[in-house]
């Protein structure tokens, strides 16, 4: 025990000559002059709803499949085919992984996309004599046909396996996230630990290997979370820049090198400049007038008879994903948007990819000149930005990778590559932080959504208590306890307070929290009163079927405040 509890200073004193910056500048240097880590976080909340076939939320998943995940896979296959030294890190959140292999959702996706293809066909006919829109209609049709063809025939309806194959080929590094994307700084040790443990287990379930890193939902970090990650043998995580700027002690290399937490887990900071160039609709590339306009969609433009199949159950309209207009200008109203020109958009993609690569190369040269060692720039984005929100995003990413592979200022790396590169990194503890507005918890804890927290905290404590009490549950009680844990998990997704905070689909987000907390309360009462209603339990199990391998024992333990 003595050895295992040796204080961290041991590593400092055991090789004190290694612990000064000048020596590092010359010793153990990585062969690469710099590293660019492009990191895509793919996540959607668990939106499966057997009772709502044409629901709005399942549509988010279907759109992301067609517009983001399938194009991303096709793009990465191209890098492999062309033998490029491309390295991209992708976190696939557990809810997304579970949905990707859910039979009901897969079947619905195929049905929905075939219907969309029929609509795209009719659009080709409708615009056949309209010079402004004909080529865009043909492009739309071709993309949907390609997506459904790839999904059914190339990937045999299993995108997870396709991602795994690209990882095996060395193109992608896949990592996990927390079980249901809970905002961890809002929870205590037992529940945060359970979220992390189940996230790690989900990855092992789907990929038969251990996840090298973990995407912390919303980059939410407080000291102590690193210990829980270490428990699951997680090597690294990503934080926002100010987590390193305010780390303890102050990192000598700023945000352009990962730091090693005292627990041994590495923390990489996102680069604010690389983020803003891609993220921001105001100052970033996606706001270019040549790119396709997201908000102008035929779901709102055509008569309801034409898009009947895509109307919501209450008759309301929604985006169907077929669009004909370009951004045109930041202040141009939707009805004044001009027709989309694919060639112009691809010119913009080329310009912006070139700019992005040169900017990173320039920045890396600059930092290296100052520090004398290979900088690490981390550029993390939501995967769904590429293709869904920013239509040309996949083409941009493709060109960034191809242009990066053709230059020598930096190497495309994954966080694991960086850690294995021979560089030494400083020990420091990142500061509490998130990547949300204002950098802390304001987005997930404000006057609009604060009502959620007492409910989920109470449920987490109750879950911990009852899991501790039932050490040998069997049969119906075992099923009920596992379902209880599922309801808690689904209630605590960071997506719900985020949606409420942003004012988007507020009603849906609130209904999801209420539904899962109500089911939790109902099941808890039944377990405690030894009066489990098997019919109800079966219904809830069929509805909220995430993590069939879940073990309620993971939730036992005291929900104490996380300690550093």
């Amino acid at each position: 025990m003595g050895d295992r509890q040796r204080p961290l200073s041991g590593c400092a004193t055991s090789s004190s000559s290694d612990c000064t910056l000048p020596r590092l500048a010359h010793g153990g240097e990585s062969a690469a002059p710099g590293h660019l880590v492009v990191f895509l976080h793919a996540h959607l909340p668990y939106v499966r709803d057997p009772d709502d076939k044409d629901g709005l939320a399942e549509g988010w998943f279907f759109e992301a499949l067609t517009e983001t995940y399938i194009p991303l896979l096709a793009m990465a296959e191209g890098w492999h085919r062309d033998r490029l030294p491309a390295r991209l890190t992708v976190s696939l959140s557990p809810p997304l992984l579970e949905m990707l292999r859910d039979e009901l959702l897969v079947t619905r996706y195929v049905d929905r996309t075939r219907a969309l293809l029929e609509l795209a066909d009719s659009e080709v006919r409708r615009t056949a004599s309209d010079e402004r829109f004909r080529s865009t209609a043909l492009m739309n049709r071709a993309r949907i046909a390609d997506a459904i063809d790839r999904f059914e025939h190339w990937y045999s309806r299993d995108l997870t396996a396709a991602f795994a194959e690209l990882q095996d080929r060395g193109v992608l590094e896949l990592v996990t996230s927390c079980a249901t994307h809970a905002f961890l700084p809002g929870f205590g040790e037992a529940y945060a630990g359970a979220q992390i443990a189940l996230g790690a287990r989900c990855y092992e379930h789907h990929f038969r290997r251990r996840s090298p890193g973990m995407w912390l939902p919303e980059c939410g970090f407080v000291p102590g979370i690193d210990r829980l990650l270490a428990r699951e043998a997680i090597n690294y995580f990503i934080v926002d820049a100010h987590a390193l700027e305010l780390a303890d002690p102050r990192p000598a290399l700023g945000t352009h090198a990962p730091i090693i937490c005292p627990s041994g887990v590495a923390a990489f900071a996102r680069d604010p400049e690389a983020s803003a160039q891609v993220w921001s609709a105001e100052v970033g590339y996606p706001g270019d007038p040549r790119y396709r306009e997201f908000y102008r969609d035929i779901g709102h433009d055509l008569d309801s008879g034409t898009i009947e199949r895509f109307l919501l159950p209450d008759g309301a309209r929604r985006n169907v994903g077929l669009k004909y207009h370009r951004v045109t200008g930041r202040d141009v109203p939707l009805h004044d948007k001009e027709p989309y020109h694919r060639a112009w958009a691809l010119d913009a993609v080329n310009d912006h990819a070139e700019h992005f690569v040169l900017a990173r190369a320039h920045r890396i040269d600059e930092i290296r000149a100052t520090t004398g060692r290979a900088p690490v720039i981390v550029a993390p984005y939501d995967a769904e930005l590429f293709g869904h929100w920013w239509f040309e995003g996949p083409e941009f990413l493709d060109l960034v990778v191809r242009k990066s592979c053709a230059q020598s200022a930096y190497r495309l790396s994954t966080p694991s590559d960086v850690l294995e590169s021979g560089l030494e990194f400083q020990i420091a503890m990142p500061a509490a932080s998130s990547w949300g507005a204002y950098g802390h918890s304001q987005v997930w804890l404000n006057s609009d959504n604060e009502w959620i927290w007492p409910h989920v905290h109470h449920a987490a404590r109750e879950m911990s208590r009852i899991a501790s009490e039932h050490v040998r549950a069997e049969g119906l009680v075992l099923r009920a306890l596992n379902q209880l844990a599922r309801e808690l998990l689904l209630a605590t997704a960071s997506d719900w307070p985020f949606m409420i905070s942003m004012g988007t689909t507020v009603e849906y987000a609130e209904s999801r929290v209420r539904r899962h907390i109500n089911r939790f309360t109902q099941l808890l009462g039944q377990i405690e009163n030894r009066a489990i209603d098997e019919g109800l339990l079966s219904t809830v199990e069929a509805s909220d079927n995430i993590f069939p391998y879940l073990d309620y024992h993971d939730f036992a333990g005291a929900e104490t405040v996380l300690e550093r």
Binding site: M1, R4, Q5, L8, C11, A12, S15, D18, C19, T20, L21, G188, A190, R227, L228, A230, R231, A233, N235, E245, L246, A247, D248, P249, R250, P251, A252, S263, G264, V265, L419, E424, F425, Q426, I427, A431, A432, G439, H440, S441, Q442, L445, N446, E450, W453, P454, R465, A467, S468, E469, V471, R472, H553, D554, A556, G557, A558, E559, T560, V561
Partner: protein, 325 residues
């Protein structure tokens, strides 16, 4: 909860009956939420609030500092605290002072990570380490091999709320050793053995603790049948998993005196072994364990830290701070 370096959010939900029993209905209306600096204990701000239920945005005077809040009422000319929050730490806003940086290689990082993992797994399993115990005999007979029992790794660790809640982890992460060797195997990764322990309870053996010996004890199971069942199932699961070949050592029970876990309430004496302990519980929830030499340790519930004394039907965990003798 901390919202940002300068603001926090507090909420509470107390039953009116409970408040009235403590301070009466008239004083209930004189409730304040008090912001307190930690560790100084100074009251930094007061907000007039409703006692029974509510929430309050709290301005934090200083970043990078720790705070808690108390819900208190003035009753009979003194403050009565109805509830106390967990301690929160406001994030920093200023860069830290630079100090001599300590850099580590990948090999050193991996060593740190492995050590942390060990430590965390131990922590999650109640800091158990193997130690010989006579309570193992029934399990030894069943397993056909020498058996050792688990005990907290260091004095004080028994105050963790781990034992009852950590049983599943104990089950899957127990340390094992071949007979005659101290090699430890973690079962958690190579095989997922579906195995759960019966209830557990932690108390200490004060006389030995006073000598600085490893004296904390963890009971896994309220009766020998439970322990026997657990040991048998464990041995069988190990054999099915094919690891390791030969006799295995299951770590199931504490060294030291065979003292039964305390009952949820009242007072009792237990002396199945050579030592006798009295375990008593007071109305405020604290539990005192006294040995026959008069040494005693009192555990007080730490409700303010977000934990509570909890007792399940099949398990009991004492969660508290230890007052020195």
């Amino acid at each position: 909860m901390v919202r940002d370096p300068r603001s926090g959010h507090a909420y509470w939900d107390l039953s009116v009956d409970r408040i009235d029993a403590a301070v009466g209905p008239s004083d209930r209306r004189r409730a304040f939420l008090r912001l307190i600096g930690v560790p100084g204990g100074y009251v930094l701000a007061e907000y007039k609030v409703r006692a029974e239920r509510g929430s309050q945005a709290v301005a934090l005077p200083e970043a990078d500092s720790s705070y808690l809040v108390e819900l208190a009422v003035m009753h009979n000319y003194q403050w009565v605290v109805l509830a106390r929050s967990n301690v929160v730490h406001a994030p920093p806003t200023m860069a830290r002072v630079a100090s001599m940086p300590v850099f580590v290689s990948r090999a050193e990082q991996l060593r740190l990570l492995a050590e942390s993992r060990e430590r965390e797994l131990d922590r999650a399993s109640g800091d158990l380490v193997p130690a010989p115990t006579r309570g193992a005999r029934p399990v030894e007979r069943q397993a056909g091999a020498p058996v050792r029992m688990g005990a907290p790794a260091r004095i004080g660790s028994e105050t963790r709320p781990a034992p009852a809640g950590s049983e599943p982890r104990l089950a899957s992460e127990l340390a094992f050793a071949r007979a005659g060797s101290e090699a430890r195997l973690r079962l958690r990764e190579p095989v997922g053995i579906p195995f759960v322990m019966p209830g557990s309870t932690a108390i200490t053996a004060p006389a030995a603790a006073a000598l600085g010996a490893l004296a904390a004890a963890v009971w896994l199971g309220r009766d020998p049948i439970d322990v026997l069942h657990a040991g048998s199932k464990l041995a069988s699961a190990l054999a099915d998993a094919g690891m390791p070949s030969g006799p295995v050592v299951a770590i199931l029970d504490p060294p030291g005196p065979d003292v039964a876990p305390p009952e949820p309430a009242g007072s009792r004496t237990s002396s199945p072994g050579s030592e006798a302990y009295t375990v008593s519980e007071s109305l405020d929830g604290s539990i005192t364990v006294t040995d026959r030499d008069g040494n005693f340790i009192t555990y007080s519930p730490v409700r303010s830290a977000g934990v509570d004394v909890s007792r399940g039907r099949s398990a009991a965990a004492i969660v508290g701070v230890r007052h020195e003798l």
